[in-house]
């Protein structure tokens, strides 16, 4: 059974971690990405140090069971993106 999402980027439908050049890091399902932005759906966001957790600690915890969404859709300008990687490739905490 195929997907129903033709015309999107290779990461479409994949849960990804988008680290930024600032304090924020996002986890969400990639809708699309191009040279201008990364668009995520069902998104959680963490700021370095919130709840006493670093970005790395937050991501390792997210890798275990996932995240609770805070936003339906977030558009992250490409200039603020430091890295994009699938959450499934992160070792769980």
């Amino acid at each position: 059974m195929g997907t129903f999402h033709q015309g999107k980027s290779a990461l479409h439908g994949i849960t990804v971690v988008v680290d930024t050049t600032g304090a924020e890091i996002f986890v969400g399902r990639c809708d699309d990405e191009d040279e201008r932005s990364v668009i995520l759906l069902d998104v959680d966001v963490h700021r370095e140090g919130d709840g006493g957790r670093s970005k790395a600690e937050y991501v390792a915890r997210a890798a275990r069971v996932g995240v609770w969404k805070k936003h339906d859709r977030v558009v992250i300008p490409r200039g603020q993106v430091a890295s994009v990687r699938p959450l499934g490739e992160v070792a769980p905490a």
Partner: protein, 149 residues
């Protein structure tokens, strides 16, 4: 919004034909979860082929293993909305994702495979993950219920 039933029927059948009971109402979910003895696998089925296309054959392959859960069931997220919502109440500490796989032992969640650990993996990799969990969890004796002698 649910997809047309005609489109999702093959996705339902793929699990049902593997001997997995489909739970389509909250009452059916409650009845399934009321049985605490032994182990139980609950498959949160999904339309999206990004992950469900690997999850269903992965589950089917895992069930070929000699050690498997005592009871098997599935709910269809996005289709049987009330049943899926009720099922998630039994592992409410876990963020909702679909497809996903929940393995219970003695009525308690013992292992969970969220959607992001199915995406980008082959059915064989999903099956291997489940088989390892079956060996570790289903083969072990059920712990006595709290408060019993």
């Amino acid at each position: 919004m649910p997809y047309p039933e005609l489109m999702v029927k093959p996705m339902r059948d793929e699990l049902v034909m593997a001997g997995i009971e489909e739970l389509r109402t909250p009452e059916q979910v409650d009845a399934f979860m009321a049985e605490k003895e032994g182990s139980a696998l609950l498959v949160i089925n999904s339309v999206c082929g990004c992950a469900a296309g690997q999850a269903r054959p992965g589950v089917r392959a895992a069930l070929e293993h000699s050690v498997r859960p005592d009871r098997l069931a599935t709910v269809f997220a996005g289709q049987d909305v009330e049943a899926a919502a009720r099922a998630r109440q039994y592992f409410a500490d876990v963020p909702p994702s679909s497809p996903s796989l929940a393995l219970f032992k003695g009525g308690e969640l013992a292992y969970f495979v969220p959607r992001h650990r199915i995406e980008n993996r082959s059915a064989q990799e999903v099956a291997a993950d489940l088989v390892a969990a079956f060996d570790r969890i289903c083969a072990a004796p059920t712990p006595p219920a709290v408060g019993t002698a």
